[in-house]
Point group: C5
Chain length 132, copies 5
């Protein structure tokens, strides 16, 4: 199954995808425009980076040209990875509530559903079962 | 619920919110003035960044213009996230006492209450129950 | 057994191995060309860095000349270590699914097998055993 | 209790406390001279930074003027936080032995006692209870 | 016991120990030549840094003059700390196999023994005890 993955990658290189850097709360994330816009066309990130013109946020870049986003870098990490390969992966230390907060902020609806499911599953069973 | 979040964000961009960087114990946090002043108007951070003039701390910036704060970056992380979306999220590794220390330093009273509750809940039950 | 290791290292230094830096999602990894190409000649990384010419990705370098790779730095870490000493080591916090995702992306087939085995072993036993 | 904390902070700003950066094993920690000298006047850090003259270490600064200290950044983190607010806070991942090593190196006697107590408490009970 | 530690440190400063930076897989470690050469005179690191001449690796420095080492920064961290104070300290998250790999690479024989012991102790008891 690792066989067809390089093709995707070579395709990316061929289409000369545009590289950009996000400054998320002080930490830099380097990625491509297609990663930000490909997965969820209706999301805020997709709308922000779909084209260069007419976006209100366009002016907020730092001194190196990185796009400023006033959010948590720690919880953005699984978000950007999700956009890279359409697959949510959480490390043990990461609180899924923090990632949910970001998914909601960026309007990634498919991710919100997955995260809410994870949170529910991890919830300890409530002692609300009526005693008969 | 992810629908109305982008509006908040676009509003932020429109009002041309001022970006600034905090140098917390050597680590940089990039955020906006409204994040620091919006949530707890009476807090030290709010008072520090409410306007440009008359604040004693104003002169303490590093060589890149980042505001110097002599505190722990690790425990400031959940503090700044709390200010971003008014929601406290702690990872498993983080000792809530460390965050409480920062919440007290910055005078974030609503956060102090939440943290004290978390600490109390995590406390192992004491063996002080009198033996009858 | 630590006796013969320095020899390997001295050999490396003698052959004047070329150093290069990868910018993986914003984080820098410094390594040698032989590390990237030695282990899995058929992998994407090996093909990317086997020679300087004719590779589509060649043009994608950042302003410091680091090769841009739009992937997760956290999960790339065990990948590059694997390439360094042909041995997979995972820390407790790291979700093996995230590393598997990268192994598949880079076409490292031997690593994929190891990771799938690890994931299967960590899987809690399913309650699918038929009730007779 | 968060009420009187900002006062401490404003006092700090007013006395124009001197900012300096420590390069601990390659990682930068920005802090104030009074943080390093205030808590434990007899400690090595206090003696190093009490005044500018006559200290042997004075010449060891890196190219940015940060004071070079050949120790572990990971275990220095709780040390500097302790000096900031006179309170020891350890995250779950941190091995207290590593912090003890630093407390001993820097001669922070009050901290050494606390750390030895923590280590003893975490010790699994020994099977040395005599069998009767 | 924290009393005699500062002496060691002052001695270091007096002998004008040479500072150098290692670029281990992209992360910088600042240390002194005596740290790298003092503990295990026969190790690869000691031989690399014992004097300036005649070593094959001498030419491999990055653009800032840091010595390039194509290894994992995460697992090098406990190695360099061990060299600093002759004491092995491992955090909970760190996989000791990863550190063993580095100890073997650098030929630190005393450390290899300690790590192998730790790994053996952490091993879950095998179910190989013969059933009689």
């Amino acid at each position: 199954s690792g066989e067809n993955k390089p093709d995707i990658c070579i395709k990316k290189a061929c289409t000369k995808d545009e590289w950009l850097t996000l400054n998320v709360g002080g930490k830099m994330f380097t990625t491509t425009r297609s990663t930000l816009t490909g997965q969820n066309p209706g999301s805020m990130l997709a709308r922000m980076f779909t084209d260069d013109k007419g976006v209100g946020w366009k002016s907020s870049v730092d001194e190196n040209g990185a796009y400023l986003i006033d959010r948590s870098a720690i919880y953005f990490e699984p978000i950007i990875n999700y956009l890279r390969h359409n697959c949510l992966v959480l490390d043990k230390n990461i609180n899924p509530y923090g990632v949910l907060e970001e998914a909601q902020f960026f309007g990634l609806t498919s991710l919100i559903d997955q995260l809410e499911e994870i949170i529910e599953m991890n919830q300890p069973a409530n002692d609300e079962t009526p005693i008969t």
